[in-house]
Amino acid sequence: MEASASIKSVVSNLKKEFTIEFRNRFAVNVALSFAAISTIAISLALGGIPISPKMKAVLFWIIMFFSAMNGLSHIFTREEEEGTSLFLRLNVTPESILSSKLIFNIIIFLLLQIIITPLYIFFLQVEIKSIIPFLLTLFTGGLSLASITTILAAIVAKAGGKGSLFTIISFPLVLPVLWIVINSTFISLDKQNYYQYNNLLFLLAFSATIIAVSFLLFKYIWLEE
């Protein structure tokens, strides 16, 4: 009974998030325009000069990282700015809030990837040699980035949503993910039929650890003394 009630509350929260998000589409628009601008800027600046697969992987994930920084912190700062966080704190358990926000961020980030990746491939003439490892890397990388940035967004929202602070505190914690994901993307761009699942395993383990600890610590961030 209790489990179904909490699932219901997560679903209703999620519905609310999507309704608010698609009412003005702020987070998605900002992240998308940022990604599009930076992709086009890189392509324009290169002016057709060929770059190595390693460089392509690095640029791709730098764009992804900064789009995440622009789009994903909004989920908690919105509650603080609009003054709705107190209402949520009183009526919904911290766990169901974290679940709904986490699922929302993961969906939004995967959506962003679905739009940005073809754009990037189109503008930078990227040739993917092993398609399945590439897609799996995108998915697991997105999962890890979204899971760590969600909990850090909760911390930053309490600091008044100061823009650059989010990037500063996220960067050192996101670095292991970026490191692995860039290497994995490089391999899938460079080598044909290359299957190495160590990287994906690392990313999944990383996201699982971060999500588990997020659930343990979220109440300390969310509830005020």
Binding site: I148, I151, L165, I168, P172, L173, N198, Y220, I221, E224
Partner: protein
């Protein structure tokens, strides 16, 4: 008090041992003496990080507020830690210049110390951004705990999951420390004395925090 005595005895001892007693290493020559300062300083910077993480965990679980000033103590540890991290980077890059010819070349150890520095910087930025927040202690403590979870991924897991990563050249260059008794002993004494030094400074800063807290309380009452 006992720690202070140990520091006053061990610090000069390890300096004398490092410069006068130990023979220089085979390939590196006199420059190898930096080993007895670089390695302990690097270890202390990690110890300081974990001390502040552990204080943060105690802070979150101590609901009845049995212990005072835990957040300040973890901040003190981080403050000393960043100093030692910078010293590690300086001594390490000097050594790298001598043995490999460049100050910086991104081997796994170098990357992990830079991550540690970035985490410290991020923690200080977060702490100063939250200075007016009533929930500051909780938020900075949770951030430190998250950082403490991510660091092992960097230091221990990545080199193992990744077959393509090089073995650490720092260890290879000095495999002789495992062979020579005198070097091992000096390194051990040096590590102990630097760790003692850390706890000595840590105690001093903690005392300072307690005194400042008392003065503030008194001012508030008046």
């Amino acid at each position: 008090m006992k720690i202070a005595m140990l520091v006053y005895i061990l610090m000069p001892l390890s300096i004398i041992l490092a410069f006068l007693w130990v023979p220089p290493a085979q390939f590196l020559g006199e420059a190898s003496r930096i080993l007895y300062f670089h390695v302990p300083v690097a270890m202390v910077s990690v110890i300081a990080f974990f001390v502040s993480g552990i204080y943060s965990i105690i802070y979150l679980y101590d609901k009845e507020k049995k212990y005072k000033l835990l957040e300040e103590k973890s901040f003190n540890s981080a403050r000393i830690g960043i100093l030692f991290t910078i010293l590690t980077i300086i001594t390490g890059s000097i050594w790298a210049k001598i043995s490999w010819g460049t100050y910086w070349n991104w081997d796994p150890r170098e990357s992990s110390i830079i991550i540690l520095l970035l985490i410290y910087l991020a923690y200080f930025s977060l702490r100063s951004a939250l200075s007016n927040n009533s929930n500051k202690n909780m938020l900075t403590s949770t951030y430190l705990i998250f950082a403490m979870i991510v660091v092992p991924f960097f230091v221990f897991i990545i080199p193992r999951v990744y077959p393509s990563l090089h073995p650490d050249p720092i260890i290879n260059a000095n495999r002789e420390i495992n062979l020579e008794e005198k070097m091992r002993l000096t390194l051990l004494i040096s590590v102990i004395s630097f760790t003692m030094l850390f706890f000595y400074i840590f105690n001093l800063t903690n005392k300072l925090s307690i005194i400042t807290d008392k003065i503030e309380e008194k001012n508030y009452e008046e």
